[in-house]
Symmetry: C2
Subunit: 480 residues, 2 copies
């Protein structure tokens, strides 16, 4: 089918879908969750074949996906997210102030690109799609080519939900052909783009979006090495436990998470050497597994070889060579001086690989942090003694990323209201937004202001008697 | 001075300024307002010479400028704007949920370009600058070349405020040289750009921002013709009053407002002809004045001649030829059919010019609206009978702009919490933001999430006992 037809259909569906009341839109999201739940077995099985991910992980991800849909349903049922702001008329002001009311309204058809590493939670009915539909916008999904059958099955479940909930047929559409991605972004009726994937892919989409006669926002989550700083007292007192925790985080899901800790930074010391020995041992003891698909595996093998071939980069440890097609987790090390010189060391290597950078002193550690690009997360590993002593380093870390974590690994992204899965470029294309958590809805809405409108012509969220009972800012006071 | 030095200074000042407590930051904004107030006379006099704007207007604009600064001071004193969201730990969840807290923090140094048409309210210490400083970010101002002495005087007042309030010297910096604008946007330490001006200028800045190794957001407010739809019953019953109101709006400040009503749309009728006769008469009776500067005046004269030379565009009325260098207000007309064919008619002509488009029926009127690009405002002129009858047209209008107005002219932009001075491209570069009103602060901040941090290491806004007493969302409940 031609992209133009698809986008026309999306725009027509949008004209209807945007008027659907929040309660019905919430019920629609819950119905999608229920339809996915009905297909759980076949979905997990199909995705298992397409992605090499184990059943437990896939089932967990399906639960996460349906929970996300339900979370957005709750958000729009509660309703305050529209950020209604009302300034009532002040006829006696000079000049007189008119009645001005504002709320968030959906932008229009949005194109969502499925991610390879989350066949459910960040693909067809994943977080991007859930946030678009919650906002009242329609969506055209570009399924990821690495799990086409999974994507189509999820889309079929969504179509059932559309029929069951009585939504316009083209509220959700699905495109499988990779070559059509560019055309979707360039189409004049597209008003926004959501993407999770490589830096190269994200930058291409950003380029198309700016090329358009009317540029549109692209939210692309792209590249992060998630630096972890280990402070001396923690290394001195907690090395065995830290080694277990971080070996598990580095090898979790074969390192195929956006928040995989790819860079470990510390000031050189005996305690550090002891920690690295323990960490290396734990990584060597981990079980090699197949990666998501052969393309990713080849890129990892090649990338790892390239990293290890860099000057002054040495292997600390790796798992024993696997018998079959599994990939090897590995830990490498270099120095702060070398890291500052060689930009190749700062690039993301997608997979179970982490680079340790040993710094000669605090100044070098700060320089290493300052040399980093934008990140999704950064982690502080420190005792109370450390956090008291290294406040300036921690403050610097907070400028690098959307999320700063104390004494926990960065993997594991909680889907909740406070989550920020975002960060300065190239972590994402726009650090003012997040793709995980309920705030993700803000990417697909715009404020619209109604001036001097009588009550009966206003949207419910802005009417005088607040029929939805939502929190609103009225004359600068938050009120229900 | 070199741009690199300026941006380094801005980044260094940012490291200190971002830590200034909200109450002190508010006091700083109030001190800027006070310093500007002290210079009111010389500022109005200097701007009068540089911009040809009358003293009353300039004095009103100075008041607007100081009020804006005070409004942002109130916003940050109250403090809830940081959108604090707290999800407390749930150790019994599977997996356990960590404590996650999020708030908005400033992005870094921002470059603000002064506007030609608001020498105070949208220039050196105008809305963009006030919102940047309120956010806790530092600012480098590119003064507008049409009012260099005014800009420098305002900057001097700001420097006094910096000294008096004890802020870092380079919290605010000022650059006069036009050629340096591009360099400022391209500099790696720049994290955001604010601009109000021409489509051409805004697009150039957007281009530079994407060219960068790390792209940054540009909020550019660029181009809008602010379509007004006149419905039949209103034309039938209120023509004389409407003619006065809209003639005044079209000629206000010689049409040099972003929200100038440049396009008047209606279905053809006798009542419309009567209204146009009255409107034309009122415009012809208006007083020609000099425009902001000779470049703008020449562009208007040339642009107006070009518009009137278009096929099937005829002059309805204009003022008598002025004796001196003043520009002529003018009203022209064409048909819906012609407007749909000729894209030149859809472009903004900056100045006291408005085009009437008469449509043969409702379908053509809808087609004319659909053919428009994004707008800052759109206005509905209709009685209760009209608004009941033409709901679909009004709904279509609401999709075009950031602000939809009923029975009031679009000129006059109230600075308040609910205001949206924004809209789809090319009205602005990103319809999700506004440059007027307190929400303008959202352009210069990003959410940052703190995971598993003890209370004493958290920013005040996120501490357990809420020392600032701000509104926060705690476990999905809004609370103080």
């Amino acid at each position: 089918m031609q992209i133009d037809t698809i986008m026309q259909q999306s725009a027509q569906a949008f004209d209807i879908y945007k008027q659907v009341k929040p309660a019905e839109r919430a019920a629609f999201l819950e119905t999608i969750a229920a339809e996915i739940e009905k297909q759980r077995e076949i979905l997990a099985e199909t995705a298992g074949k397409e992605t090499n991910l184990p059943a437990a992980r896939l089932n967990g991800e399906i639960t996460r996906t349906t929970n996300q849909l339900k979370l957005f349903a709750e958000l729009i049922k509660e309703g305050s997210w529209v950020d209604a702001v009302i300034d009532t008329a002040r006829p006696d002001n000079t000049p007189p102030r008119p009645d001005i009311r504002r709320m968030l309204l959906p932008v229009g058809p949005v194109v969502v690109f499925g991610a390879s590493n989350f066949p459910f939670a960040f693909s067809t009915a994943g977080g991007d799609t859930a946030s678009v539909l919650a906002a009242g916008a329609t969506v055209v999904i570009k399924g990821h080519p690495a799990h086409p059958r999974t994507s189509l099955l999820v889309f079929t479940a969504m179509q059932k939900a559309i029929a069951a909930a009585g939504m316009p047929e083209h509220t959700v559409q699905h495109v499988a052909d990779v070559a059509l991605g560019k055309e979707l972004v360039l189409h004049p009726l597209t008003t926004g783009v959501g993407f999770t994937g490589s830096l190269q892919g994200g930058k291409a989409l950003m380029g198309y979006a700016t090329e358009r006669e009317s540029p549109i926002p692209v939210f692309a989550e792209m590249s992060s090495i998630n630096p972890v700083v280990f402070f001396p007292d923690a290394l001195q007192t907690q090395a065995p436990q830290l080694a277990q925790t971080f070996a598990a985080s580095i090898t979790l899901g074969m390192g195929q998470f956006c928040t995989n800790p790819g860079l470990l930074i510390a000031i050189q010391s005996e305690a550090l050497e002891n920690f690295l020995h323990l960490l290396g041992t734990a990584i060597a003891a981990s079980t090699p597994q197949k990666m998501l698909h052969s393309g990713i595996q080849q890129a990892y093998v090649k990338g790892r070889a390239n990293m290890l071939a860099q000057e002054a980069v040495t292997l600390v440890s790796e798992t024993a060579a696997p018998a079959g097609e599994e990939a090897w987790p590995a830990l490498a090390r270099s120095t702060g001086a070398e890291f500052l010189k060689n930009h190749a060391l700062k690039e993301e290597l997608f997979g179970p690989y982490s680079l340790v950078v040993t710094c000669k002193d605090k100044a070098e550690l700060m320089a290493v942090l300052k040399s980093l690009k934008g990140q999704l997360t950064t982690t502080v590993v420190g005792t109370e003694t450390d956090t008291a002593q290294w406040q300036d380093v921690i403050a610097l870390q907070a400028t690098l990323a959307g999320r700063i974590i104390l004494n926990q690994p960065p993997t594991g992204v909680e889907v909740c209201a406070a989550m920020v899965h975002g960060g300065p470029f190239p972590a994402t294309s726009d650090q003012r937004f997040t793709s995980v958590g309920t705030s993700a809805i803000k990417r697909w809405v715009r404020p619209v202001c109604f001036q001097n409108f009588p009550d009966h012509l206003l949207p419910d969220a802005l009417k005088k008697d607040n029929p939805q009972g939502i929190w609103r800012t009225v004359d600068n006071q938050l009120t229900k």
